[in-house]
């Protein structure tokens, strides 16, 4: 029994070391060569998703990118062909769910400076829906928010509510005052929104707006709701003012940052200071450190502890990290350029951030790096070697067979990750590659061309075809064989279908394998296993 206990203790100790070495130890950077990064990247499962920003000319346009968290390999990108100004509205991740206006899949929502809202499928970046809001030089620049099954959007001159399922507008209220980086806050049964006139509005979820306060400066963040009232940090000439409801509680430096609220603690920033305010019984400043910060203040996990990060917006660059219990710590100043985007952090300390040079960085926490320097393979070899030595000393067994089994077991552990990955890739080839496959379709359709037409009240689908090269060829053949009437129109960009079986609507559009084609049906080529889906525009 003592030998067994001793052995268990040794194995637990050693396997714990191996266990720790499996922790994510990630560090890579990627020059996007696509303008600036002015809003925080986000991590969703194993994806790092980031958007770029800039004034665009020629063929350059902003993108939303997805990279593999571990390897940095690009998964997908979505390019806006129409946005030519800075895009600073933070990306919004929404999990799949449903509500009274419909159901939706997991997606990334983005507001653009050309007034568009795009909902992108998280798996491949394809467009699920888009909506258009008003543009007055700029469109959307502030942070959007979710209220149940609706997306609440601070538009250029008002506020809108859009169904998450399909982007249909519930309401749009024009406030006749322009906003800039003016995020919206969802409070109980109302939305709060400030703007460049210093007006603070309360809007009901039916779109009825009431002006609450007029601060006479610029509100460039989502208003903060505390148990003592609404806090706003107002930009005024050469300074800034912090208000609780209509009471001025502090005058601070210029160019306020986008504040962060954590319970009763509020973090502000200016060109002069990083500030901590507590609003438990009364709102008062409890910490202030010299720092130049004007961008997104975020909460991060650093060295295993919760802290607050402030992007340093001067040529020294980097981020200040503070708990306000000691001096502010400067991180990543070696990057050395202006930074306004906040750091995104996972619970286990993976940091993702980008700077005004458009370089994206992903960094494991220092505690992980310092403690675990050995490679996983090395740790496994050490543990396994010790196991071979220790096991025969502890247990009476067939030592020859035991050693052979142990050797095979160790080799299997070492080669397993690569083996499993390669195996998985091969197995995936056996399945349908189309992302638009429906499970109730017959297996005979696998690997063939499928055509789907979504009418208003029904969906008809035809499969098992081969040899068609374009969407038009397949569509014309299938419809003619099945007595489906088609009306087309000739346009400069090619032939369009305006109706199937007399259903006109606003025209018809198609997807190939779940993705919208950038070409017309005459030019859009299809594979031998493509799914072409026609739906009303």
């Amino acid at each position: 029994m003592k030998k067994i206990a001793l052995y268990l203790a040794i194995v637990i100790l050693l396997t714990s070391a191996v266990s720790a070495s499996f922790s994510k130890d990630i560090s890579w950077e990627k020059d996007l060569e696509n303008g600036y990064i002015t809003t925080s990247p986000i991590i969703v499962d194993e994806q790092v998703i980031v958007r770029t920003s800039g004034f665009w000319s020629g063929n350059d346009r902003p993108n939303i990118y997805s990279f593999d968290l571990e390897t940095g390999e690009e998964n997908w990108r979505f390019r806006s062909n129409t946005s030519v100004n800075h895009d600073m509205s933070p990306l919004l991740h929404v999990s799949s769910s449903s509500g009274s206006c419909g159901s939706w899949s997991e997606m990334i929502l983005a507001g653009w400076s050309d007034g568009k809202i795009t909902a992108l499928r998280i798996s491949d970046g394809s467009l699920i829906w888009e909506a258009q809001t008003e543009v007055e030089i700029w469109g959307i620049t502030g942070s959007m928010a979710i209220d149940g099954d609706h997306l609440i959007v601070p538009t250029r001159s008002g506020i809108g509510s859009f169904c998450l399922a399909d982007g249909t507008v519930k309401f749009h209220t024009n406030l006749d005052e322009l906003g800039w980086r003016n995020g919206v806050t969802v409070d109980a049964e109302r939305y709060l929104l400030g703007n460049e006139n210093g007006s603070l509005y309360s809007i009901t979820n039916e779109g009825v707006a009431t002006k609450l306060h007029d601060y006479g400066g610029k509100i460039r963040h989502a208003p903060l709701v505390t148990n003592l009232g609404i806090l706003v940090h107002v930009q005024v000439a050469s300074a800034s003012e912090i208000y609780l409801n209509d009471s001025l509680i502090s005058t601070e430096g210029s160019s306020p940052a986008i504040p962060l609220q954590q319970g009763d603690d509020i973090y502000f920033g200016t060109s002069s200071h990083a500030i901590k305010m507590s609003c438990s019984n009364v709102c008062e400043i409890v910490g202030k450190q010299n720092f130049h910060t004007n961008g997104e203040i975020t909460s991060i996990t650093y060295k295993g502890e919760k802290a607050v990060s402030f992007p340093r917006n001067n040529q020294d660059g980097g981020w200040g990290v503070s708990t306000f219990e000691s001096d502010i710590t400067i991180l990543f100043s070696e990057i050395g350029t202006y930074t306004t985007a906040g750091i995104f952090s996972t619970e286990d300390g993976i940091l993702v951030f980008g700077n005004d040079n458009g370089i994206l960085f992903v960094h494991g926490s220092e505690s992980v790096e310092n403690i675990e320097e050995e490679s996983t393979a090395l740790a496994v070899v050490i543990v396994s070697s010790l196991t071979i030595i220790v096991l025969p000393q502890v247990f009476k067994s067939d030592k020859k067979v035991g050693k052979e089994i142990t050797l095979i077991f160790i080799v299997l552990i070492l080669v397993f990750p690569q083996f499993a990955e390669n195996w998985s890739k091969e197995v995936q080839k056996l399945g349908p590659e189309s992302t638009d496959w429906e499970e109730d379709w017959p297996d005979e359709w696998l690997g063939t061309q499928v055509l789907v037409i979504e009418f208003e009240n029904e969906q008809i689908e035809f499969g098992g075809f081969t040899g068609f090269n374009t969407v038009e060829e397949l569509t014309v053949y299938v419809t003619s064989q099945n007595n489906i009437s088609v009306v087309t129109e000739e346009h400069e960009l090619g032939r369009w279908i305006t109706s199937f079986n007399g259903e006109y609507g606003n025209g018809w559009e198609f997807n190939i394998d779940g993705k919208r084609s950038s070409l017309g049906m005459t030019s859009a080529s299809i594979e031998e296993d493509s799914v072409v889906r026609w739906m009303p525009a």
């Binding site: 396997t15 191996v18 266990s19 499996f22 552990i413 397993f416 083996f419 990955e421 998985s424 499970e439």
Partner: protein
């Protein structure tokens, strides 16, 4: 969520993450834990509730089994619990073996995460314990190593496929499920190999431990016991 049986794709998913299906709500999880563990503990210890030595031995063994899943979680699908269940069934009978299997699953999943897959895992290991009680792995106090190795490898793969059914309920076509099973073959091999490793090195000691520390009460009806509980 943690992942121990089959992976969908990708290296990191292979090692740590995966999708089993929706998790249970905290209240449901608490009720499930407390209720099942209490019943199983009684079934495990009965009829030797007055025998402290036997109860302590079984309790510690169950905790070690649960801890082994947690500690070895970074190794893909290395599950010593499979062999432990076989041996518990063989040494102490179907009822105690199955109770042990369910308890070890429930306790370890408190850390590894609960969900519908817990039902499949618990029932899978309970079934293995039941099989262990029927196939005379330990006969006349002798361990039939060859039989143990073959049965543990076979049951490891069978267990993986059974647990994979927990995913099948959530909108998968039969083709997708087949691909999912094929994807998991490296994990099945790993499970089988780990079970052989556990059997070769640990089974003699486990059998000796259970025989040495089990009381006459616990030993009675240990071979060929027929009473079955539903996991």
């Amino acid at each position: 969520m943690k992942f121990n049986t089959h992976a969908l794709s990708g290296l990191n998913m292979v090692l740590t993450d995966g999708v089993h299906g929706p998790s249970l709500a905290p209240t449901e999880m608490l009720l499930l834990n407390v209720g099942i563990i209490t019943v199983c503990y009684a079934l495990l210890c009965k009829p030797s509730l007055g025998d402290k030595k036997g109860i302590i031995t079984l309790t510690i063994f169950t905790l070690v089994a649960a801890a082994s899943r947690v500690v070895l979680e970074p190794f893909p699908n290395v599950q010593p619990l499979t062999v432990m269940c076989l041996l518990m069934g063989a040494c102490l009978g179907a009822r105690r073996g199955m109770a042990f299997a369910v308890m070890a699953t429930m306790l370890s999943n408190i850390i590894l995460s609960h969900g519908y897959w817990t039902i499949f895992q618990a029932s899978g290991w309970a079934f293995i314990a039941f099989i262990g009680s029927k196939i005379n792995i330990v006969y006349n106090n002798e361990l039939a190593m060859k039989k143990l190795i073959i049965s543990s490898a076979f049951l490891s793969v069978l267990f993986d496929w059974w647990v994979s059914l927990s995913v099948y309920h959530f909108g998968m076509s039969s083709t997708e499920f087949l691909i999912y099973l094929l994807n998991g073959i490296p994990f099945d091999i790993m499970h089988a190999m780990a079970s052989i490793f556990t059997a070769v090195w640990f089974a003699p000691a486990i059998v000796k431990l259970l025989q040495d520390y089990s009381t006459p009460d616990l030993q009675e009806n240990s071979v060929g016991e027929a009473d079955v509980i539903i996991a």
